[in-house]
Structure formats: structure tokens, C-alpha cells
Symmetry: C2
Subunit: 407 residues, 2 copies
Amino acid sequence: MKKNIIVGQSGGPTAVINSSLWGIITEGKRHPEQIGCVYGMHNGIEGLLADSYTDLSGTLSDEDLALLKATPAAYLGSCRYKLPENLSSEVYRTLFDKLNRLNIGYFLYIGGNDSMDTVSKLARYAENTESPIRFIGIPKTIDNDLIETDHTPGYGSAAKYVATTVREITLDACVYQQRSVTIVEIMGRHAGWLTAASALARKEPGDNPLLIYLPEAPFDLEKFSSDLEQAFRKNSNVVVCVSEGIADSSGHFICEYSSDAQIDTFGHKMLTGCGKILENYVRNRFGVKVRSVELNVSQRCSGLTVSATDMEEAALAGQFGVISALEQKTRSMVAFKREQDSDSYHIAPCLIDVSAVCNKEKAFPGEWISEKGSDISSEFLHYAVPLIRGEVPRIMEDGIPKYLYRK
Amino acid sequence: MKKNIIVGQSGGPTAVINSSLWGIITEGKRHPEQIGCVYGMHNGIEGLLADSYTDLSGTLSDEDLALLKATPAAYLGSCRYKLPENLSSEVYRTLFDKLNRLNIGYFLYIGGNDSMDTVSKLARYAENTESPIRFIGIPKTIDNDLIETDHTPGYGSAAKYVATTVREITLDACVYQQRSVTIVEIMGRHAGWLTAASALARKEPGDNPLLIYLPEAPFDLEKFSSDLEQAFRKNSNVVVCVSEGIADSSGHFICEYSSDAQIDTFGHKMLTGCGKILENYVRNRFGVKVRSVELNVSQRCSGLTVSATDMEEAALAGQFGVISALEQKTRSMVAFKREQDSDSYHIAPCLIDVSAVCNKEKAFPGEWISEKGSDISSEFLHYAVPLIRGEVPRIMEDGIPKYLYRK
């Protein structure tokens, strides 16, 4: 007897989270004998609770689907809803009643850490209540901080954006002869994977960015000053890349160094990034021209720097999720295994226990950070270059990208 | 008798300032009977004074030239050197001695307002001293604030970057159901041309960005609050685009509203943009989720959002500059005339008196700003869409753009 698929998106957007959605819809349509339709819940689990969803397989045209695959941010909308730890809580019965009324056989959830927690809880509730519904998590995060997978869809495109933009900022920062410092603040509160990608901006070793600081290594202002003095001997224009989450040895975030002091004219506390703090520090310590650039949300929603590798892997993760669900797999997350034995890059999808993944974070490997704590090793470049390779055809209208909007 | 060309770049970078340089080098090579070689001075006029220059026509391969055309920021380096008003000052004799020693017949300078001032002074000195050297200015500025030209090379690509990025930020800002405000700060201290380009991000009229504020209209915090309240009735996620240079009716910059109050932990004054000020204001006034995004230098150095129209026009400006110099034109700037009588977009290059251009600014037309001062009229869209049209082939290496670096 035919069953339906329901899919949701949760957590922060990425450039390819909709490519995974595309993979789920198109794979779902390939099995008409087993699958009725593919429902999309709006704003993740919140939409299911509010009976807000659409039949994606029935309403999206082929042209819509092509646009969807290339549209950044979460087409279905997102949420940060956390299910209660206590599985006997009322909300679970409510959710399963709704799933049964929609004749759902397969529940797929595209998201990061917290979303995998949702998948784990629903799957365990299903086991306890002997529900036949299958629950599969499709990973996505620009932070690349999920364990037990070589990398996560979304990271490659964000890394490509960071590497491209830092290369261009470096060109821009070097046009004048006068000494200057340019500080680039990159996303990553706890994990330095994205900031490390700034090392890919170098044409040759020793190029800018001359200094790179990750949250995994303690940050010290005095050491930063001496690092800068050394860097000035190599280049009068120094580009510094820092994770938003860099902290000192006592665990105190650099971005909080001024929060007690900064008040606007209305007497309100101002929030600043660590880039601004360091910009100000360098200006007063060195008296040179200094600028800080916060790459901000474009890291996760830029559609013109998407990595073709990343987009295809995101689509594959969605397709593999559907196939696994049809094979009655559950309480699993799709993961990627890299073939180590081959020189050429090759990735194979696999399933891992979602309960083992959720609420854990994969930090950037300490051995890939230079001894001085201000650079990245070549092992990382070897790991990351394949993830940012490949261009996606551009779909434009009136000179800017054409994207799919939810009605 | 053969003469040489010397070319320099000055002022802030753009995505296509090197396309004009490409146009000058390639056009220069097309006239071997009149032109010996094309010298490039490093860091503008400063390089000429320091005898720092290269023979571009002799050293750049065809592949180099193809990369140069697509490389953002100033390949030759830039400067902000202002020549003295007094034409009898020693520096002029020094400069002309150097030009004569290099057998220069044609001096081309790619830049904005201040650079045109340099061209004007050198040309007038040449007239006074009966020097045969010809001086032509090639316009470039992302600000689009040069008078007597339909637009300036560099603006189209910056506008395309702003429109593309604001469209993507809007997708990102709308994924959650909770009310939110996203403030995008766009370059433009005095002229609102670039901020106005954010209106191109809309798919349909009435879409985000719901509020757009330019420096040409006085900004009032109380009116901003009521504009926001109205915007919330249309959309729970409001995107606001502001020029960095918005000021109140007394001419006081909004970005200075907190500069006296903001002090870092070391007791130093912090510099903030108006986006941060407004972010803080909205957070405290409305208590909603709010974020500010400063688009920053990528507006002028992003190589993946270059407008093909802009790139070709920038190259044309360089080529037309060489041809005009060979026709013994001088003290002129290349400008663009738009054919008004045709529906299709067509631009013709022409020459204008450079002395009439320099040190003047073209403000955004008041009649293109809505009565409420928070939106842009459709006349602007009609003006701007052709300038951002067309894609440029991407030249990539290891997943990021390949650019030409000066040895």
C-alpha cells in the first residue's frame, strides 16, 4: 500500500539545503508504486503542528524544480523548535496523529545538530509505539561540525564563498602603498572549519591572508601584535582572518571585550563582532590604516559561489535518504565516506545512527593548526579543495539570479 | 615619429577598472605605426614620480591580458595623490621631464572625481608650456556620481552585486516566522545611486526591501519607526537598505549618533556604521530580532557578479580614450551618451571637458525618490536594469576565480 513522504527544513539556511529538497522530491517521484506524494512542512516541525504544508510533488513544475535546486536559503522555511526530552509528552502523540492522518510512511528532515535531535526523538518514539513510520536525517550546515561524516552539505559552498571573497578582499586591500591591516570576520562560533577555508584564497603559500585564527586555538592580543609585526615584514598590506568565536585562554570571547563599555547615545548596550574589536585595537596599537569586514549571512546564502560538488552531494544526500527510507531504514542520518585509497576525490553516501550524531560537535583538528596558532596546514587544503570545485550554471533574470519563492 | 602611451589608475577599486586598462593596452597595440609601447605607472602619479612603471604591451601575454580584463581592483595599484593648485609648482616640471624622457605622447588616467582633477591640471600645464602630450581621463567609480555622463564604468557591476546580494539576504531573512528586521548598509557617503540599486532585488513591486533610504533625503528616526510599523503590516520580516551616508535634517550623519558614546575596554573611541546604530535602535524600540549587514568592499571588488554590459563599456571607454588621444584630443574625459529615442539600450562614447567634471558630484535625482522618502521610483529601475545585464565567463582555478597578480 502506497505511503507518502513528508519533508522539513530546520536550522540556519545554506546555499544548497534546497538541493537536498530537490533530491527528495525528484527521488520520491521515481517510485510511484510505493510513494503517493511528497509533502513539505512549512517552517519544519512547527508547520506540521500547525497543519501548514504543501504537496510539493504535485504543485512544483519542472521549471520550478530546476529553480529550487539552485535557490539558496530554506524554501520551506525553517524553525528552531526543540522537542521535549520526555517521549511520553503530549506533543509526540499529536505529531504522530497528524502523520498518520496524512498517511506518512517516511519522514525526512534536512538540518544540522538540533534537527538530528528531532529525528532521533521521533524515531525513538516510533520504535516505542511500534509505528511503521521511518525517520531519516539529511545533514546540512555551513559549519561542517557534524561528527561521523567526512563533511556536510552546505560547507563546500560556504567555503567557496569565503575563499573567493577573501581573495578579492586581498586584491582590494593591496592597491595602496601605505601600510594597512584588513580584518575579515568569518562565521563559526565554536568550530573553525569555515575560517580555515580562507587559506584557500592564497595563490601561493606565504600570500595573504597572512594570519588566520580559529576558535580551537586560544587568542592572545599580545601574541596577535607580535604576529602582526612579523607579517608587516612580509607585506605592507596584511589581511587577517578570524572566526567570530575566537576566545582567550580563559574562554572569554574577544567579541565581548567591549560589550560592557559600548553604549549608544540612547544609553543602550551595543553588540559588536570581534572584527570591530580587533580593528580598533590595531588602529590604536599600530596607528596604521585598518578596516574590518564581517562576511555575514552571504556566507550561507550566496547563490553565485555555489560549489557544483557541494550541490550534487546535497542532492545525492536527499536521494539516498529516500532510497534508505524505502528500504525501511530509520533513526539514521545520511553521511559521506571519502575513499582514502584513491588519489582522485570520491565520496560514498552511507547511513549512521542519528542518535550518535545529535548534540555533538566536530571541532577543527588541532594538528591542522600551525604551532604558532595563526595558520592552517596543507593537510586541510588537500581535504577542502575538492569540496569547493565546480561551477553551477547561472539562471538569471534582468541581470540577477532567478530564485524560487514560496507562494 | 612614434610616441608611447602611459596609463595609471587612481582612487578606489572597481570590478572593471582593469577592463578599461585592458582596453587601453589592446587598442594601443592596434596602432604600431603611431604607438611604441604602453607603459603602466604603479600607484598612479606616485609611480611616475618614483620612476616605478612597467611596459604593459611588452610584458603581458595574451592569457595575462584575458585574466587582466576579468580581475577586480586596480592591477597597477592606486593612489590618492592631489596635485597642487598652483601650476607653476616644481612637481609639474618634474612630471613632464619624466614623461618626455619616456617619449610619452599620450597620458591616460583611469579614475573618479579626484583623478579627473589630476588630468585637468596636467592638461592645462601642457597647454601653458606648449607640450604636445595629450591627456585623457577614463571614468570609473562605483558611486556613479560623475556629471555629464549617463553613468560611469564600475557602477553597473557594483549595482549588480548589491541587487543580487540583497535578493539573497532577503531569502535568508525570511526563513523564520518570528518578526525580524534586517538592515543592509550600502556604500555611498554622499550619493545614493548604489543603495537605490537594492530596489532591483525585488521580484515584484511591494517585495522586500520594503524600505530604502538615500543620503539625498533627510533621515528621521521617528519617521523610520512609523515606516517600520507600516512595513510590518505587509511582511513580518522587513529588510531595510540604507546608504552609509544617511544624515538627519541638520546634516548630522546617523553613523555619528553613537561615536561619542562608544568606547572599547581600552578606553578608545569605536567607529561604527549607521547600520549598527539602526540595528541597536530597532532592537530597543521594537524588541524584535534584528541584524545589520554591511556589504563593505565586496561591492567594488566582487568578480563573480560583474555585469557584462559594464565590463564591455569599461573596455570601450579605454579604447575610445586611446583613439581620441591619437586624434590629438586632450583635457577630456570619456563619457557615455544614452540613445533616448530607442526602446533598446544603446550607449555611445563621447568626450567632455574634464575641467567641467572634476570636483563636482552628481546626486541621485530627487524626483526618483518616493514622496515618503523611503522608496525608489520605477524610472530608476528603467535606467539601471540595462547596466547590470549580462554574465561574464568565469575563469576558475581550484574552485575560485583566477586573477592576474602584479609580480
